[in-house]
Amino acid sequence: MNKEKMIAMLLAGGQGTRLKELTEKNAKPAVHFGGKYRIIDFALSNCANSGIRNVGILTQYQPLALSMHIGIGGPWDLDRQVGGVEVLPPHMTTQGGQWYAGTSNAIYENLDYIDMRDPEFVLILSGDHIYKMDYSKMLDFHIEKNAAVTISAIQVLLDEASRFGILNTLEDGRIYEFEEKPENPKNDLASMGVYIFNWDILREWLIKDQKNPKSSHDFGKDILPGMLEEGFNLYAYSFSGYWRDVGTVESYWQANMDLLDPENSLNLFDEDWRIFTNNYNVPAQYISPSSKVERALINEGCIVHGQVKNSILSTSAVVKKGAQIEGTILLPGAIVGENAVLKNVIVLSHETVEDGVVITSDEITIYGAEDYGMVINRREL
């Protein structure tokens, strides 16, 4: 089996500034999503379901909730005697220390970790995308094509293509041009930020890139274009299915709302590809006689007395009597007071919307100043 030959390096240090208050105190990969998950759960569960047993997680920005969430990797069966999960923050050395300067620098700073695992292939992942993908199939493709690098790619709308790294390919998937966020994209095939490298080649390039003072130490801007220029085999592995980079408040909100469609292609209900996460030992949700619930995704521990429509209720959220919420996302432990009316609101974790408060807008409103991303320990009612 090839699967054991590959380890994953998961980039989880990003801030995600465009998510505003959601990432004020919380790294983007740790932002709550879909009632019970955090965004990083998708990449981690993909690893678990693809049979990857070694995952290094590179953290930097606001790592507290993220590190607590990952722990020793139990929810993803990564609490292993051999291998498992390692959280890899920036660190000091005898030469001093610095923050991770870019995506490829973050990997470079952890050469020792990868060398210790001694893999044949390294899978580079980003911890801030919502999707389900079998990386073992991508590895099969990588080996079959005898590629130096395989980049997972997805078709996007041509209008939006300038937001992504665009891959221009030959018929068999071989990449002849790589354009990072082009103004006039020639193609709609976008890089998903998921790469498989042959470790010996990547290792060499990381060291070379580190010595280049002009480099920004980024995979998309430096490593991949550089390798292409030198004539390496770069292949695009085309992925079709649900994939979202929830980089803005609007796209985050929309991706949550997508889950309300029972036919949505992410299909969280697929028992053969479960998304794993931490569990908080709270009881089943209670829907009271005074409530009305329609088109909603509601998690354990929630208590609903009011009206809920087109909304997502995360762990232990409460909607009190007479309250009406629509198009709203309640993060863990959020409370909506009696007779409050909310439309298109994201209520941050543990925030309380006082009784009678009305917030209705066609724009999305974030309620609360900071999301620490913690899940409540005990509910007092």
Binding site: P262, L268, S291, L297
Partner: protein
């Protein structure tokens, strides 16, 4: 309590009146409240009270116990010191299934080697979120050999659900265990929970095994109460005994009262259980849910009232579920009606079918049954 008390949950409770639910599983792993098994409440009460060494004396249907408890991870009982131990009978012995005393005898070495000086002996079928700390303080302070935990009952004459359970009778400074025949209004109900000094526990087990007069531990203890110093400690927490299908049904619907649910799920700590990673429940367009407890993984398009839905239950369009308890993975197909029923795991109620029990006699649909 951590280093002083070891818990012992003695399975093999009487299942005569709850045969429907215990055909494939012991009482301990009968599902409850949407996502738990009965034993979760006792295990969680123990760990939340600081007990870190817990053994389970099992009688039969091991697969179900093993599936649920495994090595105790979900209760933080995967420890090097103490933790969870399942005490199996020795099936080589012809007498292995005679009674729990024999099964204890096989496992005596476990109790001989442990460092804790007291045993908290319980069953799995008295539901509650119990803080054992106060009771143990009383046990330690009085320095009695045995402290029997009880629950005060008022209006006992009207409580048909408590018939046949233990009554603790104090007479002339001695304590006796009698049977509730419904003739008393106020009494201390025995709930088969005891703090016993470990050496006394060992002495009772060994003596009873040697003399051979009793087969069961409870009988062995009851007959020897006059020999030891005994006190009764009445618990404040609500305790729901589950030993019949009717009791199970009533207790299930009782937790739909919000204050009851709050006490049971949160009062002295959370109830831990095996994790199953189901997504949040999805309520679709047209769903009507009222006064119900719904577990994750459910998809609801129909009507649900006064009911408990376990994980991954599907209620299709036009289907109506009322006053019912529906176990994991069951499907209520479109336009069918289920009222006053208990559906075991993965049952299917076909399109347009009508199932009707009664509050005093819930209709039971077996595991995997297909009514189509």
């Amino acid at each position: 309590m951590t280093k002083k008390v070891a818990g012992l949950i003695n399975l093999g409770e009487k299942e005569t009146y709850i045969r429907e639910l215990t055909q494939y599983r012991p009482l301990a792993t009968v599902p409850f409240a949407g996502r738990y098994c009965l034993i979760d409440f006792m295990l969680s009460s123990m760990i939340n009270s600081g007990i870190g060494t817990i053994s389970i004396l099992v009688k039969d249907k091991f697969h179900s116990i093993n599936d649920h408890l495994s090595y105790g991870k979900w209760w933080d009982l995967d420890r090097k010191t103490g933790g969870l131990r399942i005490l199996y009978p020795d099936i080589k012995e012809e007498t292995a299934f005679d009674g729990d005393l024999q099964r204890l005898g096989t496992n005596l070495i476990y109790f001989e080697k442990m460092k804790e000086d007291h045993i908290l002996l319980t069953r799995s079928n008295y539901l509650g979120n119990i803080n054992f700390k106060k009771a143990f303080e009383a046990h330690e302070k009085a320095d009695t050999d045995i402290t029997i935990l009880s629950k005060k009952v008022t209006q006992g004459k009207t409580r048909v659900d408590l018939l046949g359970l233990d009554i603790l009778v104090e007479d002339n400074g001695k304590t006796y265990i009698g049977q509730n025949l419904g003739n008393q209004d106020e009494f201390e109900m025995g709930i088969e929970m005891y703090f016993i000094k470990r050496e006394v526990f060992m002495e009772i087990v060994k003596e009873a095994l040697e003399l051979g007069k009793e087969k069961s531990l409870s009988a062995a203890i009851a007959r020897r109460l006059i020999k030891y110093s005994v006190q009764v400690y009445s618990l404040e927490e609500e305790i729901l005994p589950i030993y019949s299908l009717q009791q199970y049904y009533n207790a299930s619907l009782r937790i739909l009262e919000e204050d009851k649910a709050h006490c049971l799920f949160y009062e002295h700590g959370r109830i831990h259980t095996k994790v199953k990673d189901a997504p949040s429940a999805l309520y679709m367009e047209g769903s009507q849910v009222s006064n119900s407890l719904v577990a994750n993984g459910c998809v609801i398009e129909g009507t649900v009232e006064n009911s408990i839905l376990f994980r991954n239950v599907r209620v299709e369009k036009g289907a109506v579920v009322r006053n019912s308890v529906v176990f994991q993975g069951s499907v209520i197909e479109s336009n069918s009606q289920v009222n006053f029923a208990i559906l075991d795991k993965r049952a299917t109620i076909g399109r347009g079918k009508i199932l009707m029990g009664d509050g005093g006699l819930p209709y039971f649909v077996g595991k995997g049954a297909r009514i189509i």
